[in-house]
């Protein structure tokens, strides 16, 4: 499964997922109004310390900031050019610390555990007569569809290239959608053929549990 999870057994990996999520929310809310350079510097240093305590390769995970580098630079420049550069520094410090803390939770929590931790949020679905199983099933379906979509697109691109010589075109999006939607219909039928998203009401004791 594609995931940002960094396998390991550090103290942060061992904390329960739900506790980590709550701590993150509390810290984020507390840090948001802070404008003091020294407090934020200390927070940033603590965060980096936490990363390095993850063990080998821990500190490398700070790379999560890289795709946001340009954006952070622009924000700093906008502050520096039109106002106070010190304000820019504080803003970047705060954003960086918050992003890194959130990322710390992500890389030390398996997707399964994260899912498990937030499942209670879906309990209200059953009041509406919907199965709380549905979000989990939907997540699995997305993970199954994404690679299939990419392969539908690449075979379509090949067919296009074989007759046009051109590599790709936005005009492929329409036919791509038609083919991909037909594929989704097949999956919907397959789901219904095996009892649908809700499953069968009662537990079937004649079949469960499976033993050798």
């Amino acid at each position: 499964m594609i995931s940002l999870y960094l396998p390991g057994a550090s103290w942060c990996h061992r904390l329960p997922a739900r506790l980590k999520l709550i701590l993150l929310a509390v810290v984020s809310m507390a840090v948001f109004p802070v404008q003091d350079f020294w407090i934020l510097s200390a927070l940033l240093a603590l965060t980096l310390l936490a990363y390095s305590s993850l063990g080998k390769g821990g500190l490398q995970q700070v790379k999560a900031l890289r795709p946001m580098g340009a954006m952070l630079a622009i924000i700093f420049l906008l502050h520096a050019v039109t106002g106070d550069w010190r304000e820019g520094v504080v803003t970047i410090e705060r954003l960086t610390a918050l992003i890194l803390l959130a990322n710390l939770v992500t890389i030390t929590t398996r997707m399964d555990d994260m899912m498990e931790a937030v499942m209670p949020l879906f309990a209200p679905l059953s009041w509406l007569g919907l199965s709380p199983r549905k979000p989990a099933l939907a997540v699995t379906l997305v993970l199954r569809f994404a690679p299939v979509l990419l392969s539908v697109y690449s075979s379509l691109r090949e067919a296009y290239q074989s007759r046009s010589g051109k590599r790709t075109s936005w005009r492929l999006m329409g036919p791509f959608m038609l083919q991909a939607l037909a594929m989704a219909d097949n999956v919907a039928e397959a789901l219904t053929a095996r009892g649908g998203a809700e499953g069968f009401g009662a537990r079937d004791t004649s079949v469960l549990p499976v033993r050798n």
Partner: protein, 258 residues
């Protein structure tokens, strides 16, 4: 609301009789889809253990077997499977009638083999851990333990179809309906799947364009233009079907005939 609905379903499910003989009865069945009459006037009593279905593309074979699993409901007439009207038990039918699709890529719902098998067990009320361990046991029993963690997309065509059939069998259906399961397989994989199916206790209804797969069956139905054209033993139906194809193939035609 949900509670009420569930109880109602259980009451309906109890009207199934897994030992019903014949296990499927179709009475004057018609099926219309998007203004098109796909099936008409079909009356059948099915009680044989092995039934084959033949017919040209578009003859209504696939629609006919979809009626048995509740994927389609008849627009006229009645379909009763294991004694229950499919209109009232539609949602519970897949528990008794397993369905194997022509293209394994269309059937697989989950990213990995293990999840694909485990799904059937969670459908029957297993918890997540029960289902995963159950799936492992089941795969091992069928000599596929090593395939469990693999992504479905990485399997060979034969392995894919094998997993699709196992994913249905894990639910222990009483009847297995197969829509040309061998059409994408090479010779060896076809023979292996054929042997697997032949050894099953379940009642089997299978569509096939490869007539040699049906010679040992108890009964063969020949569909044409949404109607039943011939119904009998494979020794009678298969040669007649083949002769009809040969006769028609040699007449010069325009594109409409395809």
């Amino acid at each position: 609301m949900a509670f009420f609905r569930k109880r109602q379903e259980n009451a309906q499910a109890s009207s199934f009789n897994p030992d019903a003989d014949p296990y499927a009865v179709l009475e004057n069945v018609g099926l219309e889809m998007t203004g098109h009459q796909v099936l008409q006037d079909i009356s059948l009593k099915l009680s044989e253990r092995r039934i084959g279905i033949v017919g040209l593309n578009g003859s209504g074979k696939s629609s006919l077997i979809r009626l048995l699993n509740g994927l389609r409901l008849p627009t006229s007439g009645d379909v009763r499977v294991f004694g229950a009207d499919t209109k009232t038990v539609q949602r519970d039918l897949p528990r008794y009638v397993g369905f194997v699709f022509q293209n394994p890529d269309h059937q697989a719902i989950f990213p990995t083999v293990e999840e694909e098998i485990a799904f059937g067990l969670t459908q029957l009320g297993a918890s997540k851990t029960e289902a995963v361990s159950g799936a492992r046991v089941f795969l091992e029993r069928h000599g596929c333990a090593h395939l469990g963690p693999k992504p479905f997309a990485d399997l060979s065509e034969g392995q894919k179809q094998l997993i699709c059939i196992l994913a249905v069998l894990v639910m222990k259906p009483k009847l297995l309906v197969l829509d040309e399961p061998m059409s994408s397989l090479d010779g060896l994989a076809t023979r292996r799947i054929q042997n697997l199916i032949a050894a099953l206790d379940q009642r089997i209804i299978m569509i096939s364009h490869d007539l040699s797969l049906l010679t040992s069956y108890d009964r063969v139905l020949w569909m044409e233009g949404g109607r039943l054209r011939m119904d009998g033993s494979p020794q009678d139906v298969l040669p007649a079907y083949e002769a009809d194809i040969s006769a028609r193939a040699d007449i010069p035609v325009d594109g409409d005939a395809f």
